[in-house]
Structures are given as C-alpha cells and as structure tokens.
Symmetry: C2
Subunit: 221 residues, 2 copies
DNA sequence: CGAGAAATTGAGCCATCTCAAAGGAGGTGG
DNA sequence: CCACCTCCTTTGAGATGGCTCAATTTCTCG
C-alpha cells in the first residue's frame, strides 16, 4: 500500500483483520472541528484492529504513514465459533496490551509537559522497535512527521519542532531526516520518567503473528 | 467499603474480579512526580478490572470515591479453562468498551480545551448514569471533587473551578454540592461535540452482571 | 460549634498556541 | 541535469489559556 492510504474507516463493521508486515501506520480519530487525535502507532507485526471481534463497529480509522505491506485476514463468522481457545486468548492479550498503551498515552498527554511528552513517545517507539530489531542504542529510523507526532501527543507541530530543537541543543538526541539519533537513551528515559517495563512487552509476543525475525523496514524498496 | 479505599493496587497479579454494586470508584495511575491521571470512572455495574484475565499484572490502581458496595468474584484457574465461551465473549466485549472509552478520553484530553473537556466529561457521565437510571434530563448526583475531575481531564482543580463557574454563568449547568443540574443537555452536547452514540453503549449491556434495575446511589446510607 | 476538606477568587507568570513567512529536501517533468 | 513544486521543517512575534501560589470563603460532618 501507498503511504497515506486508508486501511480502516471509522464506523465500518469489523469483518477482517489487517496485520502490518512492513511499514508504519496509525490509528486515529477526527473530531468534529477537524482536529485529529492519534491513539496508536502500528508497527510491523501489529494488528490494525485493536480488538478483532467480528461484527463490532470500529470507532477509529487507520491509515498508513509509509508505504506498507498489510495483510488482510478474513474472519469466518462470529468469534468464539470455530475459533480455537488459544486464539481467543491471544486476542484478549492483544486487547489488554492495547489498553495498557492507551492508559500510558492518556497519562502522557494528560500529565506531562510538551518536553517530557515527546521524549516519552520517543522512548516508547524505541522500545517497541528494539523488540522488532528495528532499533538499537544509537537510534532508529522514524518516518513520523512532526505534525504526526503532534497529533499523537496533543501538541502543535510548531511546538513539537521547538521541543525537538531543545533536545538537539541539550545533546539528548536529534531527529532529522527520518532518523532519531540518540546520544544516551538512559538520560532521556530518566528525564521523562519512562519505564521500559510498563508495557509488559513480553505479552506482546502473544499477539504477534509473524516469526521472531521480522521484516526490516530497510528491506523495503 | 469506605470512600477512598483501595480496591486494586497497581502491579498486583489479577486473581479476582471486583464488581461495583453501589458507589463510584476510579481507575488511575500515579506518575513518578506524584501527579495522578485518572483513566476511568467506575459506576454501579462496572467491573474494576478492565480486562479480567487471570494472572496478568495490573497496570493501574483502583480506589473508591464514595462509600461503595464492591463484590469480589474469584476466578478459578487461567481464563479459557472451565469458562464458557459466552463468558469469554463478554470479557472481550468489556475490553472493547474500555478501549473505546480510553480512546475517547485520550482525544478529549489531547484535543479539546479546558472548557469543552470538562463539558464532555459531564456529558459522558450523564449518558452512562442515564443508562443506570441514575440520571435524567434535569441532571444527576455527582460525588466527584473538582480535583478528581481535574485529574481525569488533565487540568488543575483551580482551572476546573473557573470553568465550572463559566458554565454556571452561561446558564448551561451548575455543579454544586454534589449535584450536576442541567439547564439544557443538548446545548452542552453541541458545544463540546459530544456524540451520545460514540460508545455504542448497547454493548455495555454485555458486561453488566447485575439485573436491569440497578441499586440507586440514593439507596446508600 | 469547631475542624478539615472543598470550592472560590485574585494576581502574575509562562507554556503553548496562532499566524505568518522563510528555508530545506526530495521528486518530477522537461 | 535543471527548474519547479510540494511537503516538511524552522523561526519569529505576539496572544492567551491554563498554571502556580496564596488567601479567603463555604461546606460537611462529627
């Protein structure tokens, strides 16, 4: 799929599950006044549907942020029918993980200032990408626009820009031309109160459908 | 239970489910700097555990806000074992609803100003309480402190107070001595962009464990 | 009636927003 | 390979919404 392609439209009934194989996407809502709130970033291995229950009306939209490989998986009939228990379990784990992320995001937006908010998001992305083998201590490739980041953390793109500049000046990390380059991750985590364990990301394994070695973003043409 | 009693402590493993029968509670997280973010209000009929999966580590705390009647229900063994499918289904529906609420809250905190944010929360509470028969067009009893509201919507209690004053002056509703008294609900919904359908609250029925007629808050001593 | 909690109010500050313009960077047609 | 276009980033200036701090008043309840 192209960058900026719609995968899921708010209000549609769920009849099929989309798994990200390559590329980035985001889950979001558009408010009456046109503002957008992003509620999740979807990375390789993630499922676009936050709770893949057949027939439910979806309360968010999903679109790609980069060229992506998205695999749709059809669901036959209502869940809990013809579906092994294990699968149900793993859907539940996935749903649990989504909730944890959402609560963490809510706290991030509700109770941190712009500076820590952005730093925290960077830390989260770093952890998640590390698990996928898409990040290391030096940093990671990040296709996010400052405006996208702004919509995720409840700020203005202008202000995100200023905060980024501050990070650069303070020699914490730089975010330029699609790459987040760390100077020291620990320092960043400390200042924004990021706890890498908060997600219990071991759980994430349950919902991954692809093998341990994930496709690299760099594999992409 | 007393008001202000802890029902669930963050970090504990889930081994039992708590159903609210009477009174209000809230789910929250305390941040490293001591700030609190409330992520949900729990009303009669609600389950304190947002995803009752046995053994999972809970990433939030829950405490009562009023004197409450809370019924613990033990879970025998891991979920999906000795549990009928229907139950699993309803846990999943519950989890889905929690997610919808969380996304709505995130958008509320991330993308609305103080005024609309508080108005929106009031609207949500009104809808949920209406379903329980605890609210009507004239308003509802609301035991929330301005500080609690502030912690839910990412503001300061001082500022919540000023916003409340504005609502009063503009003749939209008043919030005094534990009662939200509407002048006109529709006007409020319109101004803050509240859509009563967003939660698909019909779904809520799935996770309720108590009969249609709920205990009234006013039944409480 | 007294004590503690919650609500209210004022004054001043500053974080973040808005508006606007200017500078890259990559992509495409000629 | 250049000119141009578009999208993104960067920067400035000024406005303001929401915060902090602190004092006062009102409620609630024993």
């Amino acid at each position: 799929m192209e960058a900026n392609a719609t995968i899921i439209k708010e209000g549609a009934p769920l009849d099929c599950v989309h798994v990200m194989h390559m590329g980035w996407a985001c889950r979001y809502n558009i408010m009456k006044d046109g503002k957008r709130q992003i509620s999740a970033f979807l990375l390789p291995g993630d499922v676009c549907e936050s709770t893949p229950m057949h027939g439910t009306l979806i309360d968010y939209s999903v679109c790609t942020l980069t060229p992506s490989l998205v695999k749709p998986i059809s669901i036959e009939g209502p869940l809990g029918f013809a579906q092994p228990f294990d699968q149900m379990q793993s859907i539940l784990s996935g749903s649990l993980l989504e909730q944890r992320l959402l609560r963490a995001w809510l706290a991030n937006v509700g109770r941190r200032n712009a500076y820590n908010r952005v730093a925290w998001l960077i830390c989260e992305l770093h952890v998640r990408l590390s698990i996928l083998g898409l990040a290391d201590e030096t940093g990671f490739d990040c296709p996010l626009t400052q405006e996208v980041i702004a919509d995720a953390v409840g700020l203005t793109s202008v202000h995100v820009n200023r905060v980024m500049k501050q990070f650069r000046n303070e020699n914490l990390f730089s975010f330029r031309s699609g790459r987040v380059a760390f100077v020291g991750v620990e320092k960043i985590r400390k200042l924004c109160g990021f706890d890498p364990a908060y997600l219990h990301l071991d759980l994430a394994q349950h919902i991954k459908t692809t093998p341990t070695r994930r496709p690299q973003l760099s594999d992409c043409p």
